[in-house]
């Protein structure tokens, strides 16, 4: 019973709008705070890596961004599935709001990885499974956004892109597996042993905190985008006038 009321409130745009309005600044503030602490921990307190020297500090941006890019895709697919199954507008709006953020984290992971790759492996890009599947993830995001942009009618765009997100998530593990399998059959490129830095505590806690900061930041951005989406979609609804009045 309680679950159902909760579910219902989740489905009602005015409620979600009010929730987002109330909580955005808290998530944003927490994200900023955590990020500052983690940056201090990562850039100042953590000792330089014995092998990579200071280059390893790239991990504080790179790894959290990469983790989030995967997490956000899952979030998006779940939201899309909820939207499809229960015809829930808010869920569709949330899925739509996820995509650009996720795509940006993917770009950040790719970008920092490439910058890092140059000193480490001597090339910006190698065809390694992890890299390749991250690139394909970017294509999945872009396809999702392209499909949304290509369909005029918002309701149609919601449903069509939701089908794509769900199909895509079925495919994500297959892609990951196939790409790894593809490459592991050949000799691993010698340049690129993902030198797993022996993480000691001083190095590790800023990394985990940075991940938390990124996740909080994601939630804050998601809530903001969700509000914008709801305003755009529900502009004819009466509650909008009340909210804005």
């Amino acid at each position: 019973m309680a679950t159902w009321t909760w579910f219902h409130r989740l489905a009602s745009p005015p409620h979600v709008y009010a929730f987002a309005q109330r909580w955005t600044k808290w998530f944003g503030g927490a994200a900023a705070l955590a990020m500052l602490v983690a940056l201090y921990g990562g850039l100042v307190m953590a000792p330089p890596d014995y092998q990579q020297k200071d280059a390893f500090r790239m991990v504080y941006i790179h790894a959290p961004a990469a983790w989030l890019s995967l997490m956000i895709y899952t979030t998006m697919a779940v939201a899309a599935a909820v939207g499809l199954i229960w015809r829930m507008k808010v869920a569709h709006a949330a899925a739509a709001a996820c995509a650009p953020v996720g795509a940006w984290f993917t770009v950040v992971a790719l970008g920092t990885g490439m910058l890092w790759g140059k000193p480490m492996w001597g090339a910006y890009w190698v065809w390694d499974p992890r890299l390749t599947s991250e690139l394909i993830l970017l294509f999945l995001y872009l396809g999702y956004m392209g499909l949304r942009a290509g369909i005029e009618d918002p309701v149609k765009a919601d449903k069509a892109s939701a089908v794509l997100a769900v199909v895509g998530v079925v495919n994500v593990p297959i892609i990951k597996y196939s790409v790894e399998w593809w490459n592991s059959l050949h000799q691993t490129p010698t340049v690129m042993q993902m030198g797993k830095p022996k993480m000691d505590g001083d190095m590790l806690w800023p990394l985990l905190l940075m991940f938390v900061a990124f996740a909080l930041y994601f939630v804050a951005v998601l809530l903001t985008r969700l509000r914008a989406e709801l305003l755009r979609r529900e502009r004819n609804a009466s509650w909008i006038r009340e909210v804005l009045a």
Binding site: G150, K156, K159, A160, V166, I174, I175, S178, W181
Partner: protein, 226 residues
């Protein structure tokens, strides 16, 4: 008395076959496209047989993928434009079955001939004769899986404008595993290795596709119709 779902699907398949055979030249077009891609590639590279043979799996598979993508554009588009899909959706029959029939027919008239003609292109790329059965088998299975995945993409892009390029954008990432396993099987066929594992994996993807793709395609088409 109502037509059964299977009879309806059968009629849809027959209709597509008849449309295809009304213009036999249409059957040849994806094949020609494939052959041209396979011949252009050597043209843009140094024509050394050993280097060509190295590139052969890639050339064959990228050619097959792109030619099947091009043909996929026509899978639903014409039916959508002339109102046939609307009539399908309003026929009181299962759209899933009808679209599955369309997809299988599409594979029959594009994928199968492509797999059958591939040995010619492969020979031109220096692939030895013993490898041909493997090349044909992997392309036939792979193109079936591609048709299934592509049907979902084709359904999704119905409502979108300028669907052609968007279709590629949506389908290609989904097609990556098929490409990898297919190319791997072809490579193993060329080098004489055991190509059963990648073929099994392709088969698994095709089975997954058969169960999921027609459902997703039917959902996508219904959305596109609105």
């Amino acid at each position: 008395m109502r037509t059964s779902a299977l009879t309806a699907a059968w009629l849809v398949a027959m209709r597509d076959l008849r449309l295809a055979f009304r213009k036999p030249s249409q059957l040849l077009q994806p094949l020609m496209f494939f052959m041209i891609v396979a011949t252009l590639f050597p043209l843009s590279l140094t024509p050394e047989m050993s280097r060509l043979r190295d590139a052969a799996p890639g050339v064959l598979w990228v050619g097959a993928l792109l030619s099947s993508l091009l043909a996929l554009e026509f899978l639903f588009r014409e039916d959508a434009m002339d109102g046939t899909l609307e009539q399908f959706a309003l026929s009181g029959q299962s759209l899933t079955w009808m679209l599955f029939a369309k997809t299988c027919t599409h594979w029959l008239i594009t994928g199968v001939p492509l797999a059958l003609i591939a040995p010619v292109a492969a020979a031109a790329l220096g692939v030895p004769g013993e490898a041909m059965p493997g090349v044909v088998a992997s392309l036939a299975l792979g193109s079936f899986a591609l048709s299934l995945v592509g049907a979902v993409g084709a359904g999704l892009t119905l409502g979108a404008r300028r669907g052609g390029v968007l279709l590629s954008l949506l389908t290609l990432p989904l097609a990556v595993p098929i490409l990898i396993f297919g190319a791997r099987a072809t490579e193993l066929a060329i080098t004489g290795g055991n190509l059963a594992p990648p073929l099994y994996l392709l088969g698994a993807i095709a089975v997954l596709g058969v169960t999921l793709a027609p459902l997703a395609a039917a959902a996508a088409v219904r959305i596109g119709l609105e």
